[in-house]
Symmetry: C2
Subunit: 332 residues, 2 copies
Amino acid sequence: MKKIINNPERVVEEMMEGIVAAYPQYVRKLENYNVLVRKNSPVEGKVALVSGGGSGHEPSHGGFVGEGMLDAAVAGAVFTSPTPDAIYEAVKNVASDKGALLIIKNYTGDVMNFDMAKEMAEMDGIRVESVIVNDDVAVENSTWTVGRRGIAGTVFVHKIAGAKAETGAELDEVKRVTEKVIANVRSMGMALTPCIVPAAGKPNFTLDENEMEIGMGIHGEPGTHRENLKTADEIVEHLMSKILGDINLEEKDDVAVMINGLGATPLMELFIANRKVDEILKTRGVRVYRTFVGEFMTSLEMAGFSISILKLDDELKELLDAKADTPALKVL
Amino acid sequence: MKKIINNPERVVEEMMEGIVAAYPQYVRKLENYNVLVRKNSPVEGKVALVSGGGSGHEPSHGGFVGEGMLDAAVAGAVFTSPTPDAIYEAVKNVASDKGALLIIKNYTGDVMNFDMAKEMAEMDGIRVESVIVNDDVAVENSTWTVGRRGIAGTVFVHKIAGAKAETGAELDEVKRVTEKVIANVRSMGMALTPCIVPAAGKPNFTLDENEMEIGMGIHGEPGTHRENLKTADEIVEHLMSKILGDINLEEKDDVAVMINGLGATPLMELFIANRKVDEILKTRGVRVYRTFVGEFMTSLEMAGFSISILKLDDELKELLDAKADTPALKVL
């Protein structure tokens, strides 16, 4: 295992210290919990957005804490759900008079622990609602999931929910818009290599030298199938056919595109993939309103990428364009 | 070779198409040249900044084209200097009445080709100046360099020169500030794995399973030595001792820090490295004014990272904080 770390058992704690050292203008860490909150939280008059999950997906989710996105990000151990008490502490610290919305990726552990935290916060009299993101069209049910998995499309959910919350909208309004994003976003990915959880010390799956996995999850959960490596264009055509087969897109519809690197994929390859995604959409007469290319939800040093497509209406466009100022995503 | 590409001979062209498809609001491509220019260039009344080099270092340099940074980025083949005529076309297209400044990383081919382009532009009556970035403290002279190599510190040069140019300053003033940044920035890196140039199809060097290379260049040029993998803290201590041994930093001095991933390094590891960088600086009483963690100047899918330290005065702080709006770096 070749990693730039000190102690495999302390990677999350040391990472949190490194994040706070890098971005004191954005975040502070709650004492005794691996929770990053907005520096000036709670923000009164604004619904607080709380998300999180296992570590190893950086910049998700701590990198999206800041103006126009999240109020708190809860970090579990690598690829492991955060505990209910950590989530509860996050909610308690950032919830305003307007309450809090929990944005949960659809993994059984996450759903269970965020739900328990929600109940604990409600017993304190805090208004809490939750939504579950399940954008991955690859497979129904998976190693750690009933239903579809939540992957990189979650970052669109954070962006738009965050912009809506920033307007001072009430909790039910923020939840309505957030659910609209979830209903309109679809993703699917592929991997060239596995990754190594530091505490495990060995790859979470294996692939032959010329093999790729289609539709795997961001923790290395099995995808739809394995096959020999194809060209970028062929890979994109397959992923896009699955995504577009699952969402009703018509001519002149507007979409946002995210090409998300999983950790070890050069930007060069992500742009080559985007070239084909753009061509497929334009051939159908679909308008690409905004494109995001980079690392948004990774799987440590896994090589591969995912495509997310978000169908936009005027409300979502305005919120997507609204200001965001976070370590990992800025919109001017 | 596991890569998400179509044709190894066409990776740069297809990447350029993917970049333009992603960021039409920022850049356009010159016809017949792998040159990205600001969408609204030339910007009258502003010194134009032109940089570039071999491809494979994305987001350098095309990702930094936009308001407050570069006016043009010239992309050569992978790890290969761009041709003089491509650089000349870039200068011709973006130079304003105030002229153009070329920002060159110190590689023999780059210096030669940018110099030839400068002469060609001057024959057209365009005012052109140039600066050479040589921030890598690892080695004097190298495979493709006389003197020190230019690496990730170049991004600080782009940022601050860009901010100065945006004020409408004259060419000699922009050059003066740019040279101040170059005099004040130092970098050094390390690698865990090599990378594969697509057209070559095999790694550019090899490392044993438990071996790392210290001080290698961003094209895989040899560094100072190889040794068994150490802890993140030990690696950072070594790199910082070389960097701090080469720049005069006193208590209460302000610095900007860049922790630059080379392509395949998880953000988690970059933050663990930053934790130690921050500790070393603070122990010396040096103030960390701003920190950048991410991928700024990569080497395809090389695993490893570099540290850059920029000593700041009031002028440099103000310019570092000035607005930048580019695909890969935004400062609000």
